[in-house]
Structures are given as structure tokens and as C-alpha cells.
């Protein structure tokens, strides 16, 4: 399992050589504050790297969730719709957003490691 991070505060973790799970980081949920609504993509939909794949709304503001890498949605975390606060409670576990099949699995290595991401958010 490799977990990688984007500068837009998404995490992506490989589930198999060609599939991965996507969510937002602990840092992202902390910046957003109390999350009250989430809009998830349709299963089967394909997105390019950086495309807007989901929306998360906190008490404060709306924020886009971008596709960390090109791929197709295979599953969404429907439990978030009724309980969006799960994202605040466990953003990097139970609060995952969606699973994808990767168009180019090797691209995972182009994203930040946990150490690199920690450096980014502390800087």
C-alpha cells in the first residue's frame, strides 16, 4: 500500500496495482471546519488529473476535491451523504470519498510522499 498526497490536500492510496482510494487529508478537514455536505461523482465517470471530482461544503465554505490522477470512478462512499461529519472525524480512514481505476498506475510515484506533504503544510 502506498499513500500519496497532492498540493490540494487530497490523499490517494493504492488498493491494487491498478486501483486506488481517494480522500481529503486531516489538514484539509481542519482548514474547512465542520463539514455539512458532500457531493460525490457518479460511478463509471472518468476524470483527468486535476479535474473537479467532488465538492465538500463546510459551515464556512464550499471546496472542490480534485482528481489526484486520471482514472474512472468505481465506487463512492455513500455513507458520507448522510454523515458528512465522518470526514472531520476520520478523514484518512472511514471518511474516504471514492475509489478509482488508474489510467496510468505508475503516475502514483509522481505525487508527494507523506514526508513531503508534511513539509508542505508546515511551510
Amino acid at each position: 500500500m502506498t499513500r500519496r498526497y497532492t498540493k490540494d490536500h487530497e490523499w490517494i492510496e493504492s488498493l491494487s496495482p491498478t486501483t486506488a482510494r481517494v480522500g481529503i487529508t486531516h489538514h484539509a478537514q481542519d482548514l474547512l471546519g465542520d463539514i455539512v455536505f458532500v457531493e460525490l461523482p457518479a460511478v463509471g465517470k472518468a476524470f483527468q488529473t486535476g479535474a473537479e471530482a467532488a465538492v465538500v461544503e463546510s459551515v464556512k465554505a464550499a471546496s472542490e476535491v480534485y482528481m489526484p490522477l486520471s482514472g474512472t470512478i468505481t465506487a463512492i462512499n455513500e455513507a458520507l451523504i448522510a454523515a458528512p461529519d465522518t470526514i472531520n472525524r476520520d478523514p484518512e480512514g472511514e471518511g474516504w470519498f471514492f475509489d478509482i481505476t488508474l489510467e496510468n498506475p505508475s503516475d502514483l510515484d509522481s505525487l508527494m510522499s507523506q514526508d513531503q506533504y508534511q513539509t508542505l503544510i508546515q511551510g
Binding site: 471546519g33 465542520d34 455539512v36 455536505f37 457531493e39 465538492v55 461544503e57 459551515v59 464556512k60 464550499a62 458528512p84 472531520n88
Partner: protein, 359 residues
């Protein structure tokens, strides 16, 4: 950026900070939802010292009030306070203010973002023997929520007989503080208007020391005031909206309707009699997707008929509430356009959450 006189007290509580009206303000401590619900069930302490305290003094105080606000000063006796607006020449709102009649003077509470504008406006229109002085580094603390009265009972039992929108002077560490039964959350509550930071600092700690009290920030203040149907200047009110359009007709007192003397009364009295071009309409969306400031509102045929001025997920109700200016006549069916989706809105009456003032 200006800092609050009690910024160091907040630092110790480790809040998230946010800029607002030129001030660095505590946005939240435990989280906006938690603070919101705590205010509705217990009691929360808000530091709203960004707002200005100004003092009117002199025999022509009432003449000034009569000429610049729709107040009937004869009804405002010592110990009373009243929510009103400063109007401009075309009937718009310069600021929404609180006026407290004290023994020696009249205290005016103005919005942080409007301090300079209000000073200019009053300097321009002031006549006769009256002074208007905006005080520096003043402190306003708001204790809000159903358990506020038990906190006041333990610290200021002499103030428990206050009813909603009345006030009295109390002494704290030798300093005079004006204590009112008022607030901007829809709950029973009290507000402290002080001028001494040292006394205010120890008062802040004394209030927080009570088991029922937790600190709350600007985030919770905004969702609480919206649920209570209370307007926010800069969003719901402006120089170009009349109090009638804003749903604030109640501020125009009887004497000022019969024999109006306030600035801009021609437009405002006409709005009362003949209706307004637009109306601030309270709306509910039965979902969780927040509808925010500036969201377009459309009719059945997708014509834009207005825009949201304030909107938020309502923590108390569990759905979404909004205020929007809609062109008259207001169509029967209204929708909010959010990211290409047409969300159906229901018209309702204010407040969104019932008031629980101590009358």
C-alpha cells in the same frame, strides 16, 4: 489588521482566527457546529469588541435621533435600549445600531465595518448642542444561551430583574460596566459594554469559569443570528436597501410614521404605503447543501429574480436557511442555482428558529 483588546485571553484558548471588518477575530474554538449547539442549550461567551461604542451627549440628543433614525425618542426612557437604523437621504441604511439610554448619556453600538462612515454621517448632519464620540479600545462581551441567567445570578444577582432590551450599570473591580439583557442569537442573554480592558479581562475569565459557559466565535455567531432571522450589515443591509425592503419596518415607530422627521423618510414612508421594488424573503431548502451569499435565485422559467444575501446550513433545524432579495411581485416558486443544480426553495416566516428572549 486591528486586534481585540482581549486578544491575549483568546490566544490562551487557541481559537482559529479570521479577518473580519478590519479585525482579527476568533472564528471558532471547539468548532462552529459545537459552539452553535452549545449556545442553544447552555451558554456561550462571545467577544464582539470589534463593534464600536459611541456616546451621544447634550440637550439636542433627541433631536439628533429624531432626524437620523426612525426612533421616537420620547419612548426611550433611561434603562431602555432599542434596535434601529441610521438612514440616509434616499432611504437606505447607513448602519443598523443599538441605542441605549443611560442616565448621563446615550450609548450607540455601531458595526465594526461602519465606524468611519457613521462618524462622517453624524458629523455631516449633527445640529445644535450634541456631541457624538466614538470611544477607543472598548470591550463588548456577549453571554448568550438559556443558561446565561444562572451565570448572571452567580456574578451579578442585581441584574437578574432585567428584561429583554433593558440595561443597568454594574460595578466590576471598581469599573462601571453597562449590562444589558440583549444579544444577537435569538436566545436569552446578556451583553457587557465596558471601557476598561483590565476589568474586562477578569470579567471574561470569571464568565468562562462558570461550568455552563464555553467560548464561541464569529462562525457560530453568524449561523445563530441567521437562524434568529437577524440581519447582518454588508450582506442583508446596505446603503441601498430601505428598512422596509429589509423586513425591518418595526424600527419605524408610530410617531415617526404619523409625523416623520428622519432622513430619507419620503422614500421609506412611500415603501410602507405603496410597497417596495424588492423584498428580503426568508427561504428554506429541505436539504443539507448550503446556499450561500450571492447565489442567484430563479423562477419556474429560469429567470433570475433575486440573489441570496445570507444562507447557511442550520445546525438547529438540520436543513438550509437563507435570506434573499427578490424583485416584487415575488414569484410563487423559487429556486437557488448552485453549481448548475436548481434547488427548490420554500418561503417561510422569520425567525427560522423561535426566539427565547426573556420579556
Amino acid at each position: 489588521m486591528l486586534t481585540l483588546p482581549l486578544a491575549d485571553c483568546h490566544d490562551a484558548l487557541n481559537p482559529k482566527w479570521a479577518p473580519f471588518a478590519g479585525y482579527t477575530m476568533p472564528l471558532s474554538y471547539a468548532g462552529t457546529l459545537t459552539e452553535h449547539l452549545h449556545t442553544r442549550t447552555h451558554a456561550s461567551l462571545f467577544d464582539v469588541s470589534h463593534m464600536g461604542q459611541a456616546v451621544l451627549n447634550g440637550p439636542d440628543t433627541d433631536a439628533l435621533l429624531r432626524s437620523l433614525t426612525p426612533i421616537d425618542p420620547a419612548t426611550l426612557k433611561t434603562g431602555m435600549m432599542r434596535y434601529t437604523v441610521l438612514t440616509n437621504a434616499h432611504g437606505g441604511i447607513v448602519d443598523d445600531i443599538m441605542v441605549l439610554r443611560r442616565e448621563k448619556d446615550t450609548l450607540i453600538i455601531v458595526n465594526a465595518g461602519n465606524k468611519a462612515k457613521v462618524c462622517d454621517h453624524i458629523a455631516k448632519h449633527r445640529q445644535g448642542d450634541v456631541t457624538f464620540t466614538l470611544l477607543d479600545n472598548t470591550i463588548i462581551l456577549a453571554l448568550q444561551g438559556p443558561q446565561s441567567k444562572t451565570v448572571i445570578a452567580s456574578l451579578f444577582p442585581e441584574a437578574l430583574d432585567l428584561s429583554f432590551l433593558t440595561h443597568r450599570t454594574i460595578l466590576w473591580q471598581g469599573c462601571e460596566i453597562t449590562l444589558s439583557r440583549s444579544g444577537y442569537t435569538g436566545e436569552d442573554g446578556f451583553e457587557f459594554y465596558g471601557t476598561d480592558a483590565k476589568a474586562a479581562r477578569s470579567l471574561f475569565q470569571a464568565l468562562l469559569n462558570h461550568d455552563a459557559v464555553k467560548p464561541a466565535g464569529l462562525g457560530a455567531r453568524d449561523t445563530l443570528r441567521l437562524e434568529a432571522g437577524l440581519s447582518l450589515y454588508g450582506l442583508d443591509l446596505s446603503d441601498d436597501t430601505s428598512p422596509v425592503e429589509a423586513g425591518l419596518s418595526f424600527v419605524i415607530q408610530k410617531a415617526q410614521r404619523e409625523n416623520p422627521t428622519f432622513l430619507g423618510h419620503e422614500t421609506i414612508v412611500s415603501h410602507l404605503k405603496n410597497g417596495t421594488p424588492k423584498t428580503l424573503v426568508p427561504l428554506v431548502f429541505q436539504g443539507r447543501q448550503p446556499i450561500r451569499h450571492d447565489t442567484p435565485v430563479v423562477d419556474d422559467a429560469d429567470h433570475v429574480v433575486g440573489a441570496v444575501t445570507s444562507g447557511a446550513f442550520s445546525p438547529t433545524r438540520g436543513d438550509v436557511v437563507a435570506l434573499a432579495y427578490i424583485t416584487n411581485p415575488v414569484p410563487e416558486h423559487l429556486f437557488a442555482m448552485v453549481r448548475g443544480q436548481k434547488l427548490p426553495l420554500m418561503r417561510t416566516n422569520l425567525p427560522f428558529v423561535p426566539h427565547r428572549y426573556h420579556r
